[in-house]
């Protein structure tokens, strides 16, 4: 199969970018989207050109490294998959495929299709962890966890932090990502102890980094490769509100010595 690719090319963060047209031909319908881009890059290298930079790592849909905004949709046209799990059979022969980097003030373009997503790591650093070592695997039922909490926490923990939610959101909001992290920790006993502080710190960091406000269009849920639900956002709103309204003030311990 043959495709016309229109790819965003930008040499560095400071230089201006533009869409550049490329042709690839003789592509098998069964190869992956990245294999098709690999073929394009080999072609460019053979011609003495500059290969297209794009993020990828595991290529099996679990690491969250790949991105790409393909024909107006993060991770392309198939629901519930990452770009690396996308195959050329999802595109028709002769199709024009637009490939752009993810756009957000918090995700500056590094080069071509590569964006800097460390803003998501900064949100995690603000509170997306359990402060104390919670030890090894406890014996079954020594810490009671209701089954549905375990299931909901697990569903939220499926978030791979790729940032598709931000890319899809008309407001470039990171609410789905942050709420997934908040939920998976606060639903389990090890994470619950710090839940009140965590949600406030993570939301504050998210706001600082320049992500937009959620306007409940739920585009994030549609594009999430791990199908994270927007009920997590409601849970985060609920936790945030109750933390702001009802959490007790911390005692200030004065140094007596």
């Amino acid at each position: 199969m043959n495709y016309t690719l229109k790819i965003w090319r930008q040499k560095s963060a400071k230089e201006r970018g533009e869409m550049v047209s490329y042709q690839v031909s003789g592509i098998s319908a069964e190869i992956s989207f990245f294999e098709m881009l690999d073929i394009l890059n080999q072609q460019l290298i053979a011609e003495g050109g500059d290969p297209v930079a794009f993020d990828h790592d595991c290529r099996e849909g679990i690491c969250g490294t790949c991105s790409l905004y393909i024909n107006g949709r993060p991770h392309g046209p198939v629901r519930g998959v990452t770009t690396c799990q996308l195959h050329m059979r999802s595109f028709s022969d002769g199709e024009v495929i637009h490939i752009e980097p993810w756009r957000s003030k918090a995700f500056p373009v590094v080069r071509d299709l590569v964006v800097d997503r460390s803003a998501l790591d900064l949100i995690i650093q603000a509170g997306g962890y359990v402060s104390v070592n919670s030890g090894g695997i406890p014996d079954a039922n020594t810490i009671p966890v209701p089954k549905h909490h375990a299931d909901t926490a697990f569903d939220a923990a499926a978030c791979i932090g790729c940032g598709a939610c931000v890319a899809a959101c008309p407001n470039a909001a990171a609410m789905l990502f942050v709420s997934a992290k908040v939920s998976h920790l606060s639903l389990l006993p090890q994470g619950k102890a710090e839940a009140v502080k965590r949600v406030q710190k993570m939301v504050a960091r998210m706001d600082e980094l320049g992500f937009g406000n959620c306007s409940n269009t739920y585009a994030c849920e549609v594009e999430c490769p791990k199908l994270i639900s927007v009920t997590n956002i409601a849970r985060m709103n609920r936790e945030f509100l109750s933390a702001k309204l009802f959490s007790e003030k911390e005692k200030i311990v004065r140094d007596s010595i």
């Binding site: 993060p74 637009h98 008309p170 407001n171 706001d207 406000n213 549609v222 009920t231 709103n237 509100l241």
Partner: protein, 233 residues
């Protein structure tokens, strides 16, 4: 005017006192919105009296009650505050949202989302324009800022309504505004529940259906009145 407004907005955003978190801002906006949604129901109830065949007597009685009852006088101030908070926050939030994606996409987003949920600002602005018109047609006339149409007293709201709806263009614009209000409300009601954190698999479906029914009822309810005047008067 626009320049003044954007400067005012900028100072508003920079004001340290008002640097609330994204969620807090939205919760305040949602609560103001819920209040406005309830108000719309009351307003529609009174407006529907226009349809009763008594030469506007019952409508005038209700209008008189609304403009003289002291409790409602107090609530009028709360209502204006509600409008102001909802509108100003809506503009501030939209401005922040726009700033969060300084470089846009070449291909417009094709994610399938609920109908027109991405255009809350636009439908909101149409409703705001309607609100300004509505103020100059009624409220400013009532408080004496704008002269009433010839031969109509400043408190004769029934005659004013008849006069306004005698213009088909006005009636059509009025109906257009309420279609957009309906679209705005359809997203807004379930959205307020989500923002408040009241999203639960058990009742969210019911909330969405009830929200849609309410927004259709409000939209159609208000539109019936000009239609009636065009067709039967």
């Amino acid at each position: 005017m626009i320049l003044f407004f954007s400067i005012a907005l900028k100072t508003y955003c920079m004001n340290k006192l008002l640097q609330f978190s994204s969620i807090t801002g939205k919760v305040i906006m949602a609560l103001a919105g819920v209040f406005l949604v309830t108000f719309l129901g009351v307003h529609l109830g009174i407006n529907l009296l226009l349809l009763s065949d008594d030469g506007g007597r019952s409508f005038s009685v209700a209008a008189e009650f609304m403009s003289s009852n002291p409790l409602i006088r107090i609530f009028e101030i709360v209502l204006f505050a509600g409008f102001l908070v909802h509108i100003v926050l809506g503009l501030v939030v939209s401005r922040q949202n726009r700033a969060s994606r300084p470089v846009g996409y070449v291909v417009a987003n094709r994610t399938e989302t609920s109908f027109l949920s991405k255009y809350m600002l636009h439908s909101g602005i149409v409703v705001l324009i309607f609100l300004a018109l509505h103020f100059s047609d009624y409220y400013f006339v009532k408080i004496g800022l704008v002269a009433p149409p010839e031969g109509i007293g400043p408190h004769d709201f029934y005659a004013m309504t008849l006069h306004l709806f005698s213009s088909t263009w006005y009636a059509l614009f009025y109906m257009f505004c309420f279609v957009l209000l309906g679209i705005h409300l359809n997203h807004a009601i379930q959205s307020a529940f989500q923002t408040m954190g009241w999203n639960h698999t058990r009742y969210m479906g019911a909330v969405k259906v009830a929200g849609t029914i309410y927004s259709i009822a409000i939209s159609l309810g208000f539109m019936v009145i000009p239609l009636y005047f065009i067709l039967f008067r």
